[in-house]
Structures are given as C-alpha cells and as structure tokens.
Amino acid sequence: MLAVKTDKLVKCYGKFKAVDDLNLHVEKGEIYGLLGPNGAGKTTAIKVLSGLIKKTSGTAKVLDIEVPNKLVSGNVGYMPQETAAYIGLTVHQNIEFFGKLFGLDKEHIAKREKELLEFIDLTDWRDELVQNLSGGMKHRVSLACALIHEPDILFLDEPTVGVDPKLRIKFWKFFTKMKENGTTVIITTHYMDEARRCDRVGFMRQGKLIAEGVPEVLMKETGTDSLEDAFLKYADIERPPVRPGVK
C-alpha cells in the first residue's frame, strides 16, 4: 500500500488549473519533496491530500483512502505555510488543544509536549502567548502541533521558512528520525539544499509534475550539480514527467 497515490489529479479554481493531471506515488516511510516556484501547485496539492479542499477530478488517496475523509485525518499531520497557531493561546495551550483533537489523553499529551518543546527549543516559552513569540518561534509551535499525535503521514508546507539555519538542521534530523520510525513525510520547500535530503523529489511547474526521482539521479541526468539547475533544465523540456531510473 502506498502512503499517497494520486491519478490524474486536477484541482481548478474557476478556469485556473492549480493542479493539472498530477500522478504522485509516495511510498510509506519516504521523505518526498515537492519543489517548484510560487504558483506551481505544491500547496494546492498538499491541501487536497490533507483533505482541506476538494479535488476537481481524478483520484487522491492517502493510506489507500480517498480524501477528503475524516477516517484518515487522525493519521495525518498537517503544517500549513501560515503560522496557523492560536496566537491568543500559550504554547502549551496550543499543543494541548491539538492533542485533544486527536483524542490523546492528558498523560500522553503531557509526555509528547515535553518531548516536542525540547525538540523545538521552546521549553522556557511554554506558558508564553504565541502572539508574543517571533515568527520563527511561531513556526516551531505550528510544527509541534502537527507532530503531537505522531502521525503516519506528515504534510509540511514550507516548514522551515523563517527558521534559523541551526534549527533547520535540527528539523531535518527530526524528519529523518521520523522516517526511520516509519513516518512518511511530504514536504514543500524553497531551500534546494534541504531538498537534497529528501529520498525523492518531484519538480512541479504550472500545476504539473515535470520530473521526479532521487535528487542525485535528477542532477546526474541533467548534468547539473544543483537541484535548482536540474529543475531549470527540466522546466525547459516540453515532455511528460521524466522519472530517471524508473523503467
């Protein structure tokens, strides 16, 4: 069973096709990066997969269940691009609230909260209102809320924006650890150095997946030494999605 599978997925806003014929196959326990410029359709694709918006046509399955479906929501963690934490609540109250939404008991929430606060380096800020935190700190709270229930699949939309480089490294170590525990991570990012840490990446442009594969293979195939250059090469080629190494 694939963690995520889409076939000919289309999402339109009026006449505009934000996601166009997307065929995405993500294995369980994989870190999959969606790369592309603004407006490429990465966020829309993640929103459809998280069950936030309805698709226009095609299929979109998460853990073999067609989304949107509340059955799958309990196994999914979603961190949107916006801070999306309750600024009028403290860090603790935010984490506790999301824990309760996922049906965790008090003890479980307390244990996870302690771990997560250490991980996001906000233990000393536990009882501070989120509105008083810096942008990067708010982002970290948002990440903690997505992780509270140890989801099987984690959708992260630009999770490291506004996070200092030192903490970004820490984030990625954590994502790798989650992958080792069997969690599937689907991530969108602008940072190409980060994208190289993914098991596989998919290049998106104008709603379409123009290429996907292991970062090193994509670079090798295009004869480039960065994913950014590789993306530009693929973006110039008018042809169906290229999957180097896949016969």
């Binding site: 916006e82 609540l89 109250q93």
Partner: protein, 377 residues
C-alpha cells in the same frame, strides 16, 4: 459528534477570551457601560424646561370667598421640577424670547380667564375659557412635556375649585406595579448586549481563524464542522449567561430593578439567544475575507438590534408595515421573553412561543454555520 473534541474547542475558545484582556473587558465592561449610560440617558424624565408665563388675568371678586385668580392657581400647580417659570408682563417681549430660543413656551392667561372659567362652570351659561400656549415644536419631546404639564395643572386647578371632572381614570396595575424605565430597560439591554457582543466576538474570532489558517488546520484533524460550532455554542452560551447574571446583579444593586419572575428562566432565554448569535457570527464570517471587513457588518448587526428588537422603544412604536421585519431579528424574541419573565412573572407556559422561535433560529443558524465551514470545492 465527539463530546471530547467539542469540549476541547469550547475550552480553547474560553481560554482565548480569558487570555485576551480586551475581549474580557468588552464582555464585562461594555454591557455595564451600555446599561448605565443608556439607562440613565433614556430614563430621562425631562427637567428644567424654560417657560414664560404672561398672566394678564384680572381675577374675580366673589362675595363669600373673596378674590380668586384661576391663572395664579394654574401656575402654582405647574411642576416646578419640570418647568423653570419666568414671569413677564409683556406678551410681545415674551414671544421675542421664545423666538430667540430662550424659552420653549409662553403660557398666556388673558384678562378674563377667571371670569370665563367661572362662567364655563355654570351649565346654564354657554361659555368657555382658554389660555394661549405659544410653543416651540422643534423638539417634540420637550413640547409634549410642556403641553402635558400645562394640561395637568389645568385639571388640578379645576379639581381644586370643586369644578369636578366628568370622567377620571382609575389605574389598576396588573403587571409591573410601580415599574420604572430601568425595570423595563434592564431585560432589554441584557439581550441587546449579549446579541451584539456574541455576534461580534464570534464574527471577529472566525474571520481570524479563516485568515490565520487555524480553521483549515483544525479541519485537517478529526474535528468536524458541527463539533466546532457546538464548541463555540457552549462557550458563548456560558459567557452570555454570565453577562446576564452580572447585569441583573448590578441592576438590582445599583438601579433596584424589579424582578417578579424566575430569573433563571430569563438566564436560559439569554443563553439560547447567545447560541443563536454565535451561529450568526460564524455564518457572517463566511462572507468576509479580512478582519477589517468585520466593521462592514456592523450596521447590519447593530441597526436591526437597535431599532427592531424593542430594546429602547416598544415594537408598537415602529410603523406597522415595518413591524414584520422584527420577526427576523432574534433579540426581539429574547427581549419580549425576558421582560415577560422579569416584569410579569410569566413562566415557560407563557413565553414558549418566543422560546420556540429562538430554538428554531438556533437550529437553522447552527446548521447553516456548520455548512459555511465546509471545505470549499
């Protein structure tokens, strides 16, 4: 519906309000402010209205009684708390003052006023007497008050002279004995402030949720739309009840308001109104894209509540063709019900039509609010 998740939402909304000192102040201070300011301003018995009396009445010498002057008696019967009386001998000069805005009215007694009044008391004579009341009608309230005071003084004078009034009204208070404006006003202002604040707080809160992305985020969890609406309903019905208790306590302590019926039934009505209003707030938030747009909804929330709910004026005071519009204003039912409970002592057996109307409003708006939260296609 999972009650644990509903309660989690309810607690979250409550904590949000508790942590926000401004919202907290709004919940507590705004109703108190509204009750005090509106209450005192509207209860306004008119006082210190300047009038000029020009008394040319020559009076009359009655052999057995002595000299009588009915004009003096009328003037003595004018309420000196309401009217500040200035005396002038020259009518033209008095009218000049009236035209200059220095007085609201000039009461002119002609020379033969006592004579004619005496004659009019004799049924054998076809006589009548009158005084001239020159009045500035630019302020209807003040003018009405002067006319009423003058009439009362005239009637009192006739009674004093034993003239006798053919018909009198015997007032028997069925409900609200000795009720004053504040007694009428407090139930209304409770419902009005709960309506206004609950609708606005939910509206602002939900626009915030939509804009900040928290709404999308919680909808990506197992939480359902109806659980969100139910969670909000619990918190705001409790907040509404708290506001009602607070206002009733202050009303009793400060304004000595009258409560004849079961005050807990009134609280129940207010809680029901709060549920209706929070659903209305959620529903309205679907039509806003930015927090600043909440201000654009204000006239549509405030005006109907202000004008069509009967909080300040009875619904009978608005034109008959406009009255049906009040059927669509939820606080109008709550105000009528709480007034009936607090002033008439009515129970659920009497106020059930209003309670039923509020329940119908609640169900319809809760369903629509939940639908408005659904993910967009």
């Amino acid at each position: 519906m999972n009650m644990k998740r509903v309660l989690a939402v309810s607690k979250r909304v409550f904590m949000d309000l508790k942590n926000d000192k401004r919202s907290l102040a709004l919940i507590i201070i705004a109703p108190l402010f509204a009750m005090t300011v509106f209450g005192l301003a509207f209860s306004g018995e008119l006082k210190d209205v300047n009038v000029i009396v020009v008394n040319h009445d020559l009076g009359m010498d009655v052999p057995t009684i002595g000299e009588i002057n009915f004009a003096d008696d009328v003037v003595n019967n004018l309420d000196s708390e309401v009217l500040i009386i200035e005396y002038k001998s020259n009518l033209d000069s008095a009218l000049e003052d009236l035209e200059n805005g220095e007085a609201w009215a000039v009461i002119y007694f002609p020379e033969d006023y006592t004579n004619n009044t005496m004659a009019s008391m004799n049924p054998m004579l076809d006589a009548s007497s009158s005084i001239d009341l020159y009045i500035d009608m630019s302020n209807a309230n003040v003018a009405e008050s002067v006319i009423m005071e003058t009439n009362s003084a005239l009637l009192a004078t006739i009674e004093d002279t034993g003239g006798g009034i053919p018909v009198t009204i015997e007032r028997i208070d069925v409900y609200g004995e000795n009720a004053e404006f504040m007694d009428f006003f407090v139930p209304g202002i409770i419902c009005f402030t709960v309506y206004l604040l609950t609708t606005l707080l939910t509206l602002m809160s939900f626009i915030g949720e939509r804009v900040s992305g928290t709404l999308s985020r919680v909808l990506a969890t197992p939480l359902t739309e109806s659980e969100i609406v139910a969670g909000y309903a619990i918190t705001f019905s409790l907040v509404g009840t708290f506001q009602a208790i607070f206002l009733v306590v202050v009303g009793i302590a400060v304004f000595d308001v009258m409560i004849v019926g079961n005050v807990f039934l009134a609280f129940l009505v207010v809680a029901l109104l709060a549920i209706v209003c929070q659903a209305l707030g959620i529903l309205l938030s679907a039509f806003a894209e930015r927090e600043a747009q909440a201000a654009q909804f204000l006239p549509f929330i405030v005006m109907p509540g202000f004008l069509l709910s009967g909080v300040f004026w009875p619904l009978e005071a608005i034109p008959a063709w406009l009255r049906p519009a009040s059927f669509f204003v939820p606080p109008s039912y709550a105000i009528e019900a709480t007034r009936s409970v607090m002033l008439r002592g009515w129970g659920l057996d009497m106020i059930w039509p209003q309670v039923l109307a509020l329940i119908v409003f609640a169900i319809v708006l809760l369903v629509l609010a939940a639908i408005s939260l659904r993910r967009r296609g």
